[in-house]
Structures are given as C-alpha cells and as structure tokens.
C-alpha cells in the first residue's frame, strides 16, 4: 500500500501542496480547501510541518462517524469518504488526532485526502521532497530507515 510520507525537516513552508491540492480538487485556489495543511509556528517561519491524512487502518474519524461515511477500504487501501452518507456533523475532524481533516466552509463536510487516485499532486509539486509517495508496510519503519541514513 502506498502512503504520503512527510519529512518535515525538508519542508520550506511554500504551501505549493495546498495550492495544487485545492486547484485540482476544487478548481480554485484557497488553502482552506486543501486536503493538506502547512502549520508553521517558527518565529522566522523555520518550522513548517505538513499535516495530511495517514490513511489509518483503524481510523478514529471512521469510528466517530455516526453515518458510516468514512471507513478504511482494504481494496483501495485508504480511508474513503462516502459523500452520500455524510450528515456534516464534523465529528470526524474532532476525532482525528493528527488534525488531518478539514471541514468545508460551506458544506461542513470533511475535506479529506484521497491520494488523487494514486498520483498525489502535492507530492508532484514538492520540489523540497518533504512529501514522498511510497510503498510501505509501515510508515514508522520508513522513518527509522531514514534516520539511520542521516
């Protein structure tokens, strides 16, 4: 299964990921409509952190959803959003401990990463390579390997 892997140490905080995500899924640019978000609390903006859905196999968002609108799909190997079921209660956004779900400002429904059908536009436009799209059994193992390489 493939995941978007974040290496925050490489992120320069340009937010191209937000821009291209919004453009590709919503046909306009607005960072508030992006499935990925850069949080940058550094005094000189030196600490950007990309936040994006981790496609949990036991997703807290799904467990919190009263309408069966979010669940892990073993075939697609990601958490899928079923718009028809959504009641726009916002429980999913509260439940995600990574803050990876944004609510649409007009519909109140979750704005959630769907990996762009297997070719994430955020990854394509990340020249810093802070975002990569990788085949992994376990995200933690990838990060441990990277740590050893440093």
């Amino acid at each position: 299964m493939k995941r978007i892997i974040v290496d925050a140490t490489k992120c320069a905080g340009c937010r191209a990921c937000e821009v291209f995500c919004s453009d590709s899924h919503e046909n306009v640019v607005n960072p508030g409509l992006s499935r990925i978000t850069i949080i940058n609390p550094g005094t000189l903006e030196e600490k950007p952190i990309p936040v994006v859905c981790r496609q949990c196999q036991e997703p807290a968002c799904g467990a919190a959803c009263p309408a069966d609108a979010l669940k892990y799909d073993p075939e697609a190997q990601m958490v899928v959003f079923i718009k028809e079921n959504c009641v726009a209660c916002g429980n999913c956004a509260d439940a995600c401990s990574y803050g990876a779900i944004t609510l649409h400002p007009e519909t109140g429904m979750p704005i959630k990463c769907n990996l762009c059908g297997g070719d994430p536009t955020c990854v394509k436009h990340c020249t810093a390579k802070a975002l990569t799209y990788e085949e992994i059994p376990d995200e933690v193992i990838i990060k441990k390997k990277r740590f050893l390489q440093k």
């Binding site: 320069a12 640019v29 550094g42 020249t127």
Partner: protein, 619 residues
C-alpha cells in the same frame, strides 16, 4: 466581482486620521489599463496625491498592492508591492517583498490597501477575512520587528497570521527604514518604513482563508505552470543553485569580472571575496530553506552562524546585495559580521543596501579626513573595522549620536559635509546603489540614470550584460536594451512574479510568454502591442510622478565617481562612463521612448498611452 479572473476585485481604504475603513471596487477599466501591483500602485499614488507633498506628512499615502498571479497556482509570484513617495529620494518609490503576506491578503478578500492620513497614537491594522479594524499598538511601539510580530500573534491568538511591520527605525523615521514582511522578507528600498512610522502605523496583520482565487483558463494556466515546474526540476540554476545559495553566487562572479563594489566603490575587486563566497555562506550560515508562498525555489534561508564573533546567532541568511553592502563595500571579509549587520537591519527595520552604502560613505569620509573620530562619537570608522561598522549601524537604527546623521542617507550627508564628498556619495536620485556596477556595464549606466527609483537594480537589470548576451563595454544600442529590459521588469512587478523567474519568462523585451500568462490567468485577451502599451503606460506614469516633483534630465545622472574615475584595477580596469557618453545615451533613449530632450514625456506620448486623464501639468 471583476469581469477579469484572479482578482478579488476590491481594495480596502484606511483613513488613519478619522479611523474610517471602507471597501472599494476595482473598476474593470482600471484593471485593463494597469493590470496589477506596479501598475495599480502607480495609478492610485499618482491620482490621489498632490505635487510636492511631504512624504512624512498628513497628506502622504502608502499603497499596498498584490498582483494577479499571487494566490493562483502560478509559482514564484508571492510579492506584495508597496508604493509611496520616498523620504530618501523625494520621488516615486516602489518596493516589493516576498513571503506569504500578499497571498494572505488576497485570500482575505483584497487586492490592495490604501493607507491615508495619520493616527494620533500608535495603531496596527488587523484584517481578518473581509473584516478590518484598527487596534491600539502603544504596547508594541519601540519593539523590534520579531518581537512585534510575536506579540501581535499572541494578542490575536493565531500564530499563522501574516504581518508586515516596522521596527524602531521606521518609528524614528530613518530615511531608509524598511517594512519587514513575515520576518524573512523586506520591502527594503526607499524608506517606506519611515512613511509608515510617520503615520503611527506599526503593522498590518492579515488572516485570509475565505476568498477563492480562480483563473480565466484553467487548462492553459496549468500547462504554463507545468512547463515552469519542468524547468525547475531540470535546470540546475533554478532547481538547485537558488535553494542551496540564494543569490549569493554573485559575490564571486562579480569579483571575477572586476565589478564587485569595494570600499565605497574605490575599487571593484575585493581581496577577501573568497571568504564571503556562497560556498562559505553555505558552510558557515545555512541552516534551513525557507520559502515564499507557492514558490518551489526556496531561495530564502534560515541561518545559524557557525564560528566568528557572532557564533550561534539565529537569523535570516543575507542575500547577495547585503554581502556587498556590509561586506566588500565596507571592506569586511567576515561573514558572521555581515550576518549580524543583516540581523540588526531586519530587527530594527532598515534597508541593508542604503544602510551599508551610507556607512561605507562615512568610512571614506573618515579616511579622507572629512569627518573626525570625535565627530563620529569616538569611532574609528576605517574600512574593514567590523566593530566600528556594527556600532555605527546600531546608532543609525535609533538615530543616536552620529547615527542621526547617517540615517539621512548619502545624498543629504554629502550636502552637509561638502568639500568634494559629493563625488563619492554613491546614490542615484538619492537612492543608494545596489551591488551591481555602474561603470562596468554601459547598459546599467543608462538604466540606473533613468530609473524612477534611482540606484535600484530592479528597473534595469544587469543580467543580460553580465551573461554576455549583450556587450557590456559598448554604448551601441543600449537605449533599446534599457527600454526592452525595463518593459519586462515593469510587467514582472505588475504581474508580481519574482526576479528569480526572469530567466524562464524572458529578460529582454515582452514576448508571447508574458502574453500567454496574463491572458490565461486573467482573460484580458491582450495582444502583444496592448501589453507593451501597459508596460509603457506604467513606466511613463512613474516618470510623470517624478516630473511632477520637479525631476528631469538633471536628475538622470550618475555619482561623479563613476563619470570621472575609471575602475582602477582588475578585469574591468579602465571602464567608466563619462558625462558626455551618458548624455549621448540619454539623447537616444529619450528620443526612443517619446520624451523631450529635458527628459519630460511629450504630450503626445502621454496622450497615446491614455494617461492624459490623470497626468497633470502637461505642457
């Protein structure tokens, strides 16, 4: 809503005297004539101010504008342009900063701001997604730029707001005070920070998440953007050099060509250039890339100084212009000192170029015996004396002692010192020179002379001549080169893409590339002749602003040093631009652009560009 895409279609007008804040629509007709940032800034500033107004007075205005590309998927176009009459030059000034402020302003729903009047007490402007208010800034007055930003973020309760702010130098109206944007970027040139300080406006804070920016032709825009990304991925200069070194490879390039301003331009090679090199900077200063909004180039750098006197200093890494102004120009070969000087300028809010050139001027005056150690508060201001440079800079930042004198800039200082010091007061129209030689490029000689700002390297560009595409040593055809290059820089600042993208889009003359971008993004349906007219209109309007302020051919002049002293050494030895040579180029240039022999745009030129509606005092 505008009928053209990529605009919010409205601006915010803030009257600091009355406290009134109002929204205004941008008219489609004005958008078509002036297009964006540089164009709209010049238009509103000219239209709404009177001849001879005091830049630090009640009638002064400060205009902020974004461009149409900002907030779209178009990369490397984050700029916010700030416009006003400069207290340093008493002429038109536009200064641009990167960062995220411009995009945030658009996402908050505004293409621009017009700040007028002045507040009786310190305030800051807080813009929150279509709402705006003035807030008390008494507690922030006196604070450095970083301290102010952090305090405002805390007060608002959101660490992700974007802030443009002045430091103590702006409050105290240092003639070259800057406006810091987002901590890493500066609208540096021309003292617009002093204009903000005179208005008692400490900062503008913005939160924008509401407005959606669309483009006219999504498929074409996407195709143009993918082409640029493809180049960034494959071109070493764009894709790798900038992210590793920013603009700093210029130090060694210029030194090797013999055009690196050294010891107040007494020489143009610096024997310690290697210790200021981009490689040394990468090793001793670089910590991490920082990026402007939607810019994959990442040329800004967070810096932690390793070694030297200021070991451990955490700051923003200087770019080339600052390495020139505080390095070679002051005879300093120590990067930690350059980083410290840059840090002082960022925190107090001063232009690193004018500050460095002003100190280099003082150093030459001291070495020539025109100003004594006693007059300098006991400081031995010799070239290469790092401690003296830092002390003078700290005094200048708050106008203490001799710093009050230095804070006026080289033109006013030389007028007071007299005794021939005017010959080496390195400014054009009062604006201190950037780090690109006047004498070493004939095109730059002419370009600097006719620049509305003066000593700026962002009107005329040095790169076509430095790169060898045009012979830097000949005057032939330079009038045409200046016209073609300045057309692209005006359009660059109007669309608001960054100078780093000039190589991709084109530096010499407007082309289909410029045209395709603006038509795809905004849907103007321009042809190339119409786009050229937009560029000419803006360039002429800036000129008309200066003519209204009394400027003419007499001000299209170079520092005397560059017209009388040949470069004494190095690979460009012997080069200079005598007054007769400059005059010859000016004659040809004025004829080419439709100005009379006194450098005043002719009535028919102004009329043909549709400027006669707003330009006053037409002869």
């Amino acid at each position: 809503m505008s009928k053209y895409s990529a605009y919010c279609g409205k601006i915010l007008r803030v009257n600091l005297t009355t406290g009134a804040i109002t929204e205004e629509k941008l008219s489609d007709e004005v958008l078509r004539k002036y297009v964006g940032c540089n164009g709209l800034g010049a238009y509103y500033l000219y239209k709404e101010t009177e001849q001879g107004y005091d830049p630090l007075g009640e009638k002064s205005k400060l205009v902020f504008f974004t461009g149409p590309l900002t907030g779209t998927i178009f990369p490397c176009a984050p700029k916010i342009g700030i416009f006003g009459k400069s207290p340093l030059t008493a002429a038109f000034m536009d200064s641009y900063a990167g960062g995220h402020f411009g995009a945030e302003l658009k996402f908050a729903g505004y293409d621009g701001l017009i700040i007028e009047g002045s507040s009786s007490k310190p305030v800051y402007l807080w813009i929150d997604n279509g709402k705006a208010e003035l807030r008390d800034a008494a507690q922030h007055w006196g604070r450095t730029t970083t301290d102010t930003r952090e305090a405002i973020k805390k007060e608002i309760g959101d660490e992700l707001v974007r802030i443009a702010v002045i430091g103590p130098s702006g409050e105290k109206k240092v003639n070259y005070a800057c406006i810091m944007v987002d901590g890493t970027h500066a609208a540096g040139r021309g003292g617009l920070g002093a204009v903000m300080g005179a208005k008692n406006l400490k900062a503008v804070a913005v939160k924008g998440t509401a407005a959606c920016i669309d483009v006219a032709d999504q498929e074409k825009t996407r195709a143009i953007v993918e082409d640029i990304y493809q180049q960034i991925r494959t071109d070493k200069a764009l894709g790798e050099t900038l992210s590793k070194y920013g603009t700093t490879p210029a130090t060694q390039t210029n030194n090797a060509t013999g055009i690196l301003g050294t010891r107040n331009w007494q020489k143009e090679t610096f024997e310690e250039a290697d210790s200021l090199s981009h490689l040394q900077m990468a090793e001793k200063l670089f910590k991490k890339n920082i990026s402007c909004f939607n810019c994959p180039l990442r040329c800004a750098h967070y810096c932690e100084v390793k070694g030297g006197q200021y070991d451990g200093l955490k700051t923003v890494k200087p770019q080339y212009e600052t390495v020139y102004s505080f390095g070679s120009l002051c005879g300093i070969g120590d990067l930690s000192v350059v980083a410290k000087a840059n840090h002082i300028c960022n925190e107090y809010g001063m232009d690193t170029l004018s500050a460095g050139v002003s100190i280099a001027f003082i150093m030459e005056c001291y070495e020539k015996g025109l100003i004594s150690q006693e007059e300098l508060d006991g400081i031995k201001a010799e070239f290469g004396n790092a401690e003296a440079m830092i002390t003078l800079l700290e005094k200048t930042a708050v106008r203490e002692g001799i710093g009050d004198f230095i804070s006026q800039g080289t033109r006013k200082m030389s007028q007071k010192i007299g005794r021939g010091s005017n010959a080496f007061a390195i400014n054009i129209k009062g604006l201190e020179l950037a780090g690109h030689s006047v004498r070493g490029y004939k095109g730059m000689s002419l370009g600097y002379a006719v620049s509305p700002r003066g000593g700026s390297h962002q009107d005329m560009r040095h790169l076509p001549e430095r790169g060898g595409a045009f012979d830097r040593k000949t005057v032939e055809g330079k009038e045409k080169l200046v016209k073609d290059v300045t057309s692209t820089t005006v359009i660059r600042d109007t669309f608001t893409y960054c100078a780093m993208l000039e190589g991709n889009i084109g530096r010499v003359g407007l082309t289909e590339k410029h045209l395709n971008i603006i038509n795809a993004v905004c849907g103007f349906g321009f042809d190339l002749a119409e786009l050229q007219e937009v560029a000419d209109r803006i360039w002429n309007l800036e000129r008309c602003f200066n003519v209204r302020e009394g400027l003419s051919r007499k001000d299209d002049v170079l520092p005397e040093r560059f017209m009388t002293e040949p470069i004494p050494e190095g690979p460009s030895q012997g080069m200079y631009t005598p007054k007769e040579e400059l005059d010859g180029m000016l004659d040809k240039y004025y004829a080419l652009v439709g100005w009379d022999q006194n450098g005043i745009p002719k009535k028919e030129t102004v009329q043909a560009l549709g400027l006669d509606e707003i330009v006053q005092n037409l002869k």
